[in-house]
């Protein structure tokens, strides 16, 4: 395992750090260049993060030591780069591993840097595959199972469920009443909208789908087209029922059961119908006209067939009429 390897290699003496860091950074860059590798790294980090949380202190200690060692030689930018890369990856790339690789490369007669980079790449791949194979399956299942909880159905609940399925309640039309839909969204304990985001999909920007229409009023051609379509699709009724439906739509036939207040939407309260004196403000307070208008109001208040609007229209018409006749009246 990697942890054991790390513990043994801690004691090794550190050769010249700069070369190793340079080589290591180069190696990392070569490996990190492939986007596939980047993706694998990201997935690896995700999984590794979880694993590190679940696992014990050993991993944390190792990581801390690794970061500490990295922070030590902060002379060059390359080291910082490397540090950031490592921190991003979540794994301490193991200066010990680098040392080992460099030692091996130095032992070999070929090009040192190349061998070191290749070795590191291979090591990394190997580690990742082993990690994934080891922890990938288990982590996934563990993740999923940890959030799930075993639900015990009480016999009462079961009875309810069964009875809800076999409901013989009938509607007026003779259709079964549905047993109160089991909403797919929030079923008892779990719901679809709860939980950590996986960040697998990027949110597609909602395209403005013809938000403002270029021509706001529909053109004549559009209207003609619509009329044509309506004329073609309006097939003659096949039977009496369809004929009656058509008539109902046109308004020739009333809707059954007959609604006595169909088409009559008088939302006004009773006091608006009866107390119409407030509309009499334009009239003189004394005289025969006032007397006449009071009679008019009395008659209107007793009329149940007119709407409030119509009554007000009557009164306003009288007002206009008497204003027009004012000169005539004053002559008298």
């Amino acid at each position: 395992s990697t942890s054991s390897v790390l513990s043994t290699e801690k004691d090794e003496s550190t050769p010249s750090r700069d070369t190793t860091t340079e080589v290591a950074s180069k190696g990392q860059e070569s490996t990190a260049e492939t986007p596939k590798q980047k993706l694998i790294d990201i997935i690896g980090t995700m999984k590794v993060e979880v694993s590190y949380r679940n696992k014990q202190l050993k991993a944390r200690e190792v990581k801390k030591q690794g970061t500490n060692k990295l922070e030590g030689p902060e002379s060059e930018g390359a080291t910082l780069q490397k540090a950031t890369e490592d921190v991003q990856r979540g794994k301490p790339i193991n200066p010990e591993l680098l040392e080992a690789a460099s030692a091996v490369a130095s032992s070999l007669p070929l090009n040192k840097k190349q061998t070191v980079s290749e070795l590191l790449a291979q090591l990394r791949r190997h580690e990742e595959t082993t990690d994934r194979q080891k922890k990938g399956g288990t982590i996934n299942i563990r993740n999923v199972i940890s959030e799930m909880s075993i639900k015990r159905q009480s016999p009462a609940q079961r009875g309810v469920r069964i009875s809800s399925r076999i409901s013989l309640e009938l509607d007026e039309d003779g259709q079964r009443i549905k047993p109160g839909r089991l909403s797919a969204q929030s079923s008892d304990s779990r719901s679809l909208k709860v939980g950590r985001r996986l960040n697998i999909f990027t949110k597609a920007s909602t395209e403005t789908e013809n938000a403002p229409k270029t021509e706001s009023p529909p053109t004549i051609w559009d209207l003609e087209f619509a009329k044509e379509v309506a004329a073609v699709t309006a097939q003659p009724p096949r039977n009496g029922f369809e004929e009656m439906i058509q008539w109902t739509k046109e308004g020739i036939l009333w809707e059954f059961p007959i609604d006595n207040e169909a088409g009559m939407e008088d939302d006004a309260e009773f006091h608006e119908h009866i107390f119409l004196e407030k509309h009499l403000e334009g009239f003189p307070k004394q005289g025969p006209i006032r007397h006449f208008m009071e009679l008019v109001i009395c008659g209107l208040s007793k009329n149940p067939y007119l709407s409030v609007k119509q009554k007000i229209e009557h009164i306003e018409w009288f007002q206009k009429y008497f204003e027009e006749k004012k000169e005539f009246l004053q002559e008298m």
Partner: protein
């Protein structure tokens, strides 16, 4: 002959109705008298409110008489066809002005015809 030809040419009184249904639609009134009756009904409906108000001024003991005379003149100035008195309840199928039963809007002859062919719902020959 010429009169009938003229009649044919001018056809019976016609109303342009944009019919949405594809079936046969009767686009004509039975005769000109029926058309005139239809016009009178429409005008009467339009001027009903005004006539009511002016008549309310006229049939009054409170308002001064001069005002009422002015109202008289006003109502006389309205179109003649706007008064409801000129409406005649004609038979809707034959335009017969007399012998029309109000409930069915049919003249007695048409009514009898349909009733004998059992096309009037709930109508039976009386026998007692």
């Amino acid at each position: 002959m010429a009169a009938s030809a003229l009649g044919w040419a001018l056809r019976a009184a016609r109303q342009v109705l944009p019919s949405p249904c594809a079936g046969q639609v009767r686009g004509y009134y039975v005769d000109w008298r029926m058309l005139r009756d239809v016009k009178r009904r429409k005008l009467a409906y339009e001027y009903a409110d005004e006539r009511l108000r002016i008549n309310a001024i006229r049939k009054n003991t409170i308002l001064p008489r001069e005002l009422q005379e002015v109202a008289d003149k006003e109502i006389a100035a309205l179109p003649r066809d706007s008064c409801p008195v000129r409406i005649r309840n004609r038979c809707i199928l034959t335009s017969r002005p007399r012998g029309v039963k109000r409930r069915w809007r049919l003249s007695r002859i048409v009514f009898r015809h349909f009733a004998d062919h059992a096309q009037m719902s709930g109508i039976q020959r009386a026998m007692w």
